[in-house]
Amino acid sequence: MKFKMGWTAPLALAGAMTLAMSSFAQERVVRIGVAMPISGPGSYFGVMDKEGMELALEQLKGGVNGTKLEVHYEDSACSPLQATNAVKRMLDQFKPHIVIGEECSDASLAIAPILNEAKVVQLNVGSVTMKLTESGYKYTFRIFPNAEQQSLPLAKVAYGVLKARTAVVLHEKTNAGNDNAEGFKKPFEAMGGKVLATIDFGRDVNDFTAIATRIASLGKVDVLPTFALEGQQVRLSQALAQAKVVKGGGGNAVQMGSIWLPYGFDQKAGQAADGYVRIVQFDPTEKRKIVQDFVKAFQAKYGADKTPTHINAHAYDSILLIAEAVRRGAKDSESIRDQFSKFKDVEVTTGRITFDPKGQTSDLSVVHFVETQKDLSWKGMSWQ
């Protein structure tokens, strides 16, 4: 019996090889765990994070260079305990190469030692506490400016540009709030400014009238650096305006805010936000092509009336950065870490990423100041 080999055989062989190669390619997976708040008061972070990540994954068509990016979400609820459990469960069952998370500093600090012990990369996109990248963790990276990176420019602008000599620092009672407040106070006082009071409050405080009254009784206050979540900031600004402390209410003090405050705050606070000064990292009106492409794609996917916030943008960027590491050959936790360490000016919507030896983003060239105008629009300021 002769075995005939016609023209179909090589084709079949080639087909089989392609199939084998493609199935081999499909087997290459980088597993991305995401620990973010899906329940509890911080769950809006989770919703916005997921929107950003899903958009990035859709644009990447789920993978890079034949490597699939597989994402697994866990609810960490902005809580150290829940975040710890979520990450342990993920490490046990999903076996991620990298974990994105958490948003809240307290929860991020809780999962950092676990991930570092397991030699799994932690990519943080929303916490400010200094301790996260100052504790010697080798697998922790952060693209969100830390407390010092956010508060120092605020102090410099307050003293040098706004000529402020007195300040009242307002902050939520968390690691993030404390670090930001300290990050402002020390340099401001070192420059010669005086902090009249530091007022902290829990996340369950709703009515800020008593706090505004106290500030009004402190005499002349030039600036009010404020570090709190958006909901509380809105109520706080309104109370300060009612007490005639801030410009939005006919007073003289300038309220200053950090990067935590998402786009859209001004519309929510209304006239009380007039004159509010803050630093932003993600600015949807920024002219860079990557930013404008992101805004367009985001609005095409989620609705024309929806402008992405920095939370959406940071989450989107986290996937782009992992994709870039994979594009450069990363395939597991060690190689992702190596590639992250080699990043130099990798452009994403929130800036150009270069990690310092501690894993902290170091290029802050896109961070800039904006001032809220009477019509509640932003005016970019050239202060640094």
Binding site: D200, R203, D204, V205, R214, S217, E230, G231, K244, G249
Partner: protein, 305 residues
């Protein structure tokens, strides 16, 4: 008026306003405890439902569909939240609490309130999402200034509505047949039953009134709190503390304790720091439990509710 006097008056007014908000939330809690000797862990979620009802009634239905002006829309939304609270109380009582009560078990209805709380919280999370809503009352935009003292229209409205609610509840309990029957059930359910009163019906009515008050409290709180499915949780712990300080189930005690806690909070912010509010309130609560376990107004069953 001197600086210090103006400050004291201002913080006292801030405290009374805050206290009235707390009283609005605590009234329903104390009413249920007074009649049923039961704690309702779902009360915070009834408040949140009221806040969302008011939000949608004011910003969507009244202004956009009915074309009502802002101020009237917000006032209508308070009525809508009151009604929604009553309906929700009626439904939850019929579906969950009443069947469990009929089995004669005291623990199950208590646990059921936790179940209802989780259910309502997650249902609202699914319906409205976790991103906080911006609920602005037209009254909150109006600042009234008398010399150096200021307050918002919203604070006047809160104080007025709470006074109205307290007065109406007091009149209902003291002067109407149903109110007297309800007090009889609170004193002795079995004897009241022997007198021809239907305790099941009156317990149901208590839950409906308490839920309606919670709904109305939500409408008043909506423009003050960060409105999300978890909003009620931020005030409920304080409301529980007020119920305990006031004397379990005692309406007058709850009112006094609510305003007292509000004023204490305002002066804590002024002189000690806002970070110490919870510490001060709960030290007060513990002191009350140790020194006067019956609360500000000693519990006398016949005078409760």
């Amino acid at each position: 008026m001197g600086d210090l006097a103006a400050l004291i008056v201002q913080q006292s007014l801030n405290g009374v306003y805050l206290g009235c908000l707390y009283v609005m939330v605590a009234l329903g809690l104390t009413l249920i405890y007074g009649v049923l000797n039961q704690i309702n862990f779902a009360h915070a979620d009834f408040v949140t439902v009221g806040a969302f009802t008011a939000f949608f009634a004011a910003t969507r239905l009244a202004t956009k569909v009915l074309g009502v002006p802002d101020t009237a829309a917000y006032l209508l939304s308070i009525v809508a939240a009151f009604g929604m609270g009553a309906l929700l109380g009626l439904a939850v009582n019929a579906a969950v609490f009443a069947p469990l009560r009929e089995r004669g078990d005291e623990l199950r209805p208590l646990i059921a309130t936790i179940g209802v709380s989780v259910l309502l919280e997650n249902a609202q999370l699914a319906l409205f999402g976790p991103i906080p809503y911006q609920f602005d009352s037209p009254f909150a935009r109006e600042t009234i200034r008398i010399g150096r003292i200021f307050f918002t229209g919203q604070s006047v409205l809160v104080v007025g509505v709470s006074a109205l609610a307290i007065g109406a509840l007091y009149a209902f309990l003291r002067f109407t047949f149903l109110g007297k029957a309800l007090r009889a059930v609170a004193q002795d359910r079995e004897t009241a039953g022997l007198m021809g009163i239907n305790p099941g019906l009156l317990i149901g009515l208590t839950i409906v009134i308490a839920s309606a008050l919670a709904g109305m409290a939500g409408a008043m709180l909506g423009p003050v709190i960060v409105l999300s499915p978890f909003a009620g949780a931020s005030v409920i712990v304080k409301a529980f503390a007020i119920v305990i300080i006031g004397g379990f189930g005692n309406l007058q005690g709850t009112i006094i304790a609510g305003i007292f806690v509000g004023v204490i909070e305002a002066f804590t912010v002024q002189y000690l720091g806002s970070g110490l509010i919870d510490l001060v309130v709960f030290v007060l609560l513990l002191a009350m439990l140790v020194v006067r376990p019956t609360g500000l107004i000693a519990e006398r069953k016949e005078e409760n509710v």
